[in-house]
């Protein structure tokens, strides 16, 4: 068989497989993809929808959840087929979700958690300097927006309630930046990816903040599917994401998210977050603060 004939046959098989998966998922039933406030703007939702519909050949419904808890509940209760969630929620929900694809920021599957404070506050250089602050968290299930600083406080034998004068959740990473930038919070914890993108886009709120400390590298928030999702659809989504750069819709999506590409995920990338989760659960002893936060 000629090579060209073989490729044509594979393509035909693939197309047939897509149509078969569509039939298996149910004709006319939309593919539901969940997002949270990890996204920076609502325009990305339409890009996600356009990209996925083009690649999956299915109607796609983008469902935006206000918290990771809601997103996990939706995955657990089959309200969504897939979602882009944070690393810690994935670690928590391993029993009913599986890794599908890993966004590559600067081509790498890593990101850092930033401690930020007001740009005018030049004397704060570590978590210790933030004692007595009003502190802004993102989400109780956010790795960068909650778990990392709380575990760091464990290493100081502190709790947020004792260490800070007050705390609150914004349930949005960029709102943490706004809270610190406006002065509502004296300091906060935020996904490094979000803060860097906001800085890149000259966000007024981000420009009013500065980094106090950066954490170790942790696995970037992954795209997951529920475990009971049909494998064919799971692999089809995975293939679409991995090949995102090959399509115009994919490139537009990646560009709007300031991402390089999607990577094939590996469980080992989330071992650091797993360790944090164990410390948080009390099944792992606290680790030194310097192993959590690098210098700013």
């Amino acid at each position: 068989m000629h090579r060209r004939t073989a490729l044509a046959a594979l393509a035909c098989l693939a197309n047939t497989a897509v149509q078969a998966q569509a039939r298996a998922h149910g004709v006319g039933k939309p593919f539901r993809f969940g997002v949270t406030d990890v996204f920076l703007h609502d325009g990305a939702i339409h890009l996600w929808q356009a990209f996925l519909q083009a690649q999956l050949g299915l109607p796609v419904q983008i469902i935006q959840k206000s918290s990771y808890q809601e997103a996990l509940e939706a995955l657990r209760s089959d309200e969504m087929e897939a979602a882009w969630i944070c690393g810690y929620p994935y670690v928590v929900a391993r029993s009913f979700v599986r890794l599908c694809a890993q966004p590559g920021w600067h081509g790498q599957p890593w990101y850092q958690s930033y401690l930020i404070t007001s740009a005018s506050r030049t004397q704060a250089h570590s978590l210790v300097d933030l004692k007595g602050d009003v502190f802004a968290f993102d989400d109780p299930l956010s790795n960068s927006g909650y778990v990392v600083p709380v575990v760091a406080l464990r290493s100081l034998n502190e709790t947020p309630q004792r260490f800070f004068r007050g705390t609150f959740y914004t349930y949005s990473l960029h709102k943490v930046v706004e809270a610190v930038g406006s002065g509502l919070a004296d300091s906060g914890t935020v996904d490094g990816y979000i803060w860097e993108v906001l800085q890149l886009r000259r966000s007024a709120a981000a420009l009013k903040t500065r980094i106090v400390a950066k954490s170790r590298r942790y696995g970037f928030p992954p795209v997951v599917t529920r475990k009971n999702l049909d494998f064919g659809l799971h692999f089809q989504l995975q293939k679409a994401l991995l090949d995102a750069r090959k399509s115009a819709e994919g490139r537009m999506l990646l560009s709007s998210l300031d991402l390089e590409n999607f990577l094939l995920p590996q469980e080992s990338w989330f071992e650091g977050i797993g360790e944090l989760a164990e410390i948080l659960d009390g099944t792992h002893p606290p680790i030194p603060l310097r192993e959590i936060y690098e210098t700013a």
Partner: protein
């Protein structure tokens, strides 16, 4: 005329001033009303926002959701604290700041420092009578004014009695100042346009309305003929200027008439003076002529010549008398003293005839009749009566005033009955009697010139001459009526009466 005192300038100026004052008052009133309405709008908007916050914030505070409270607050005030014109602070039940729209001024979880909103003694409670439904805002204070802030305070309650916190909302005057200034500019521009439009119109209209008055005023500077012509044209107007012009024209006519009258008076005075100068020597000449005719003996030719001369002189006398009657200068009134003077004048006759004079003067000090004729006529009659009186008898002189405006002088003497020629001389109209009776005839002439009369009577040896003269300013009808009322003695005797 000084222009500052001219109505032609003052009235337009007053009208224009009134227009300006009216425009100024209206602009000021509109400005104040606009400011009031804007403040009421601010209050209404603030109470509406407070009502909304009162519903949403208590549960968020109870959930310890600082960010959502912040978002709820900044959704009204805006998050840009550098340009915000309002400020809102949500206090927790512990009195600390739960969240505020400007966390840098009111930091979260700290006791509030109100010094940026008010200082002790600067708060002024406003009335909120203009708020239609106060019951819709329970637990909410009326607006509080502090500096350039209007402050609203409300208790945040979760249930009926569950106090969750307090909400303090401050709105800067800058919120409505820009709109107020914009509206004031519009009011000012419209006012200026209205003034620029109406002031010239009012000025021109008032000047136009006063133009006839100005024309009338200018006509007063012209000669009477031109002034009368202008006045006649303006007199046809139906307004006050027409009335003034008509009055002015009448005044010009009266002035002209007075000028003519003055000329006539001057001519009359000259004629009167001439007549008076002629009359006196003429009287003497006639007296001498009559004496000569009565007692002299002349040939026929001389007598005819004397008669011709008599008629000629009499004609001259008639003419002179007529002129004197027309132009007689105003004589002074008769005084009571004049009768005493007459008594003195006949004193030589009294001594000669051995007659005693008895006077009875029932009249005021001054009687409004011409003194000359009365005095002369009375003297003539007194002298006649004195000469006719029986020696040793009493000569009586009575003078009294009768109502209305009549002077009666009575002279009576005891003696023989006067001759018939003497009695008839009184009735003679124009021709003087020859011989005796000329004095009485002359007296009657003098009295008739001033409207008076002379009556002579003789009863039981007493001869009585009665003079009646109407006083000046008394109508003829009144005099006649008086004469009827005061019956004359002759009416009972059928004697002659002139």
């Amino acid at each position: 005329m000084n222009l500052r005192n001219s109505l032609l300038l003052r009235l337009p100026f007053v009208a224009v001033t009134l227009v300006l004052l009216t425009a100024l008052l209206m602009a000021t009133g509109l400005g104040l009303l606009t400011q009031r309405y804007l403040i009421e709008d601010v209050d209404a908007g603030a109470f509406q926002a407070m009502a909304s916050w009162n519903k949403s914030l208590p549960s968020l505070i109870q959930q310890d959701n600082v960010w959502s409270v912040y978002e709820a607050l900044t959704s009204v005030t805006g998050a840009d604290v550098l340009h915000t014109t309002s400020l809102v602070v949500a206090l927790g039940a512990n009195g600390r700041v739960f969240a505020s729209s400007d966390p840098r001024v009111f930091p979260t979880a700290r006791p509030p420092d109100w010094s940026s909103l008010w200082a002790p003694g600067t708060l002024e409670l406003s009335s909120y009578q203009h708020l239609e439904d106060r019951s819709a805002h329970p637990g909410q204070s009326p607006p509080i004014k502090s500096g350039h802030w209007r402050i609203y305070v409300s208790a945040l309650r979760s249930g009926a009695d569950s106090n969750v916190g307090t909400l303090v909302y401050a709105v800067s005057d800058e919120l409505y100042r820009e709109r107020l200034i914009s509206m004031l500019w519009w009011i000012a521009i419209i006012t200026v346009i209205a003034v620029a439009l109406f002031v010239p119109v009012v000025w021109l209209l008032s000047r136009r309305m006063l133009a006839p008055l100005a024309e009338l005023r200018r006509s007063m500077l012209l000669d009477s003929g031109q002034a009368r012509q202008v006045g006649s044209v303006l007199a046809v107007r139906p307004d006050e200027v027409g009335t003034l012009a008509a009055a002015f024209t009448r005044l010009l006519d009266q002035v002209e008439q007075a000028r003519q009258a003055e000329k006539l008076v001057a001519v009359g005075a000259l004629a009167g003076a001439t007549a008076h100068e002629i009359n006196n020597p003429l009287g003497g000449m006639l007296n001498a002529l009559h004496t000569a005719q009565s007692f002299g003996s002349f040939d026929q030719t001389t007598r005819q010549t004397l008669d011709l001369l008599d008629r000629g002189l009499e004609q001259l006398r008639t003419t002179a008398q007529a002129l004197l009657a027309q132009t007689r200068p105003t004589e002074r009134d008769l005084m009571r003293q004049d009768f005493l003077d007459l008594a003195e004048l006949i004193r030589p006759c009294q001594g000669e005839r051995q007659v005693r004079l008895q006077t009875e003067l029932a009249l005021p000090e001054r009687v409004a009749v011409a003194v000359g004729p009365v005095r002369q006529a009375t003297l003539n009659i007194l002298l006649n009566a004195c000469h006719a009186a029986r020696p040793g008898s009493v000569l009586e002189l009575q003078a009294k005033t009768l109502e209305p405006g009549l002077l009666r002088v009575t002279v009576s003497n005891q003696g023989s009955r006067p001759p018939v020629t003497t009695l008839s001389s009184i009735a003679a109209a124009d021709i003087p009697p020859t011989g005796s009776g000329f004095g009485l005839w002359e007296s009657r002439r003098l009295l008739s010139d001033i409207g008076g009369s002379l009556h002579l009577d003789h009863v039981s040896g007493v001869t009585m001459a009665i003079i009646e003269i109407p006083m000046r300013g008394t109508s003829v009808a009144a005099t006649v009526a008086s004469g009827a009322q005061h019956s004359h003695p002759s009416e009972n005797r059928g004697d002659s009466h002139v």
